[in-house]
Subunit: 207 residues, 2 copies
DNA sequence: ACTTCGACTGACTGGACGTTCAAATGACTG
DNA sequence: CAGTCATTTGAACGTCCAGTCAGTCGAAGT
C-alpha cells in the first residue's frame, strides 16, 4: 500500500477528488457531472484533476462509483452473524441489508445502479469490475442462504438466484419510495419484504 | 383524433420519427442518441425533425420512450383472463408479463427503465407521465392480486406493494440475464419466479 | 408557362465540455 | 536571497451536438 509521505498526500488528494465527485454525482446525476463542477466542489482548478486522474473524466467517475459501491458492500459484510441459527441469520441479513442500502439511497439513486450494471458493454472495464463486485456480493448472500438450506430452515432453492432476487427486491422498495408510490413507513417495507421473501423460500410446504 | 388528410400524413411522419428514435435508443442508449443519428435512421434531414418536434430533442426522446412503454403496457393488459379462477389468473398474469417484458428487453435495457422513473425531478413533465403510467399499470396488477385475495387464494397482502415487487422481480430476472449472471434457460427463471412469488403470497400458513 | 406554397434540406452557429499546457505559485535548499 | 523543482492554475483549443434558417424542389393552382 501507500508508504512514503508523497504517496500518502497523493492518496489523500485522490480521495478528496473522489468524494467531491460523489457529491456532484449525488446532486446532478451521472450524466450531469462535469469536470468543472467536480473541480468547483473540490475547490481546486480543473487542471489539477488531470494530475491525479490523467486518464480523464470517465476514469474519475468510474473510480468514484466503484469505490462508493465497494464501501457500501463492505458495510453489509460486517453485519453477518455466522454463529446465529440459520433462519435468524437470514432475517438479520435481510433487515440489515435493507437498512444499509436505504441509508445510501441518495448515492444509489444518482448512480442508477441497475443501469450501470446493465448498460456497459461486455468488454468495458468498469462494467467488468462492477460485475465482479456484484458477483462477490451475491456469493456472500448466497452462502448465507445456502447455509440456511443445509440447516433445513429454507427449501433448497438456487441460492444465487434467490440472492439476486432478494437484493433486487430491496432496491425495488427503495425505488418505490423515491418515485413517491409508497405511503407507509420504511420499516413496514422492510418487514413486508422479509415476510414475502421468507415465505417464498421457507421450508414448510404450503398449500 | 386525426381526421384530415394532412393530419394523417403528419401523424404517420411523427410515428416514423418516433420509431427511428426508439431504434437508435435501442442501439446507442438514451444518452448516446443524437438528433443526427435519429435523422439518419429515419432517412430524413435534421431540420425535418424540428418540423414535427419543434420543442426539440428532449421532447422527441420523451415521446419515443413514453409511447414505447405505453405499447408494452397495453400488451400486458390484453393477457388478463378475469373469468379464470383467481390463482390461475395470477399465474397466467405473472408468466405472461414475464414473456412480454422479455420480448422487449432490448428497448427496456436501453431505456434504463428504473432510472427514468427515479431520476426525474418531481415537477418534471415526463416523470409525471411515466409515474402515472406506472401507477395505472400497478393498479391493474394489484386488482388481479386483490381479486385472488378476496377469493382466499392468497393472503391479504398490500396489493400495490405486492404488485410493485412482482414487476420488479420480473425485470430483475431480465437484468440478471443482461448482466450475464444467469446460466439457466429463461423459462426456468419464469417458473422459479412464479414459485417464489406464489409461495410468498399464498394463503396456506407456513412454518 | 408562371406563380405560390409548403415540405424538406443541410451547412452553419453558438454553447457546452473534455483536455492541454505555458505560466504562476509556493516550498525547499545552499 | 537566488535558484530549483514540484504543484497548481485557468485561458485556450478542439470536438461534439442541439437548434436555426436561407435556400431547394416538386406539386397544385391559375
Amino acid at each position: 500500500m501507500a508508504s512514503s509521505r508523497e504517496e500518502l498526500i497523493k492518496e489523500y488528494r485522490v480521495n478528496e477528488i473522489l468524494e467531491a465527485a460523489r457529491r456532484v454525482i449525488g446532486r446532478h446525476g451521472f450524466e450531469g457531472t462535469t469536470i468543472d463542477r467536480v473541480a468547483e466542489e473540490a475547490r481546486i482548478a480543473k487542471g489539477t484533476i488531470y494530475l491525479y486522474f490523467p486518464k480523464g473524466k470517465v476514469d474519475l467517475l468510474h473510480a468514484a462509483v466503484f469505490e462508493g459501491l465497494r464501501a457500501i458492500m463492505a458495510e453489509t459484510h460486517k453485519l453477518d452473524r455466522p454463529q446465529d441459527p440459520p433462519l435468524e441469520r437470514v432475517r438479520h441479513f435481510v433487515l440489515g441489508q435493507f437498512r444499509i442500502l436505504s441509508s445510501h439511497q441518495d448515492f444509489l439513486k444518482a448512480f442508477e445502479l441497475d443501469k450501470s450494471f446493465v448498460t456497459f458493454a461486455p468488454g468495458d472495464a468498469l462494467g467488468e469490475k462492477l460485475r465482479s463486485l456484484l458477483s462477490e456480493y451475491l456469493d456472500y448472500a448466497a452462502s448465507i442462504l445456502e447455509a440456511a438450506a443445509r440447516g433445513g430452515a429454507i427449501r433448497p432453492v438456487d441460492p444465487k438466484f434467490a440472492a439476486f432476487i432478494l437484493s433486487e427486491m430491496t432496491t425495488a422498495c427503495l425505488r418505490r419510495r423515491l418515485i413517491g408510490l409508497a405511503d407507509t413507513p420504511v420499516e413496514d417495507d422492510a418487514e413486508a419484504l422479509l415476510d414475502l421473501f421468507l415465505r417464498g423460500v421457507q421450508a414448510a410446504p404450503c398449500g
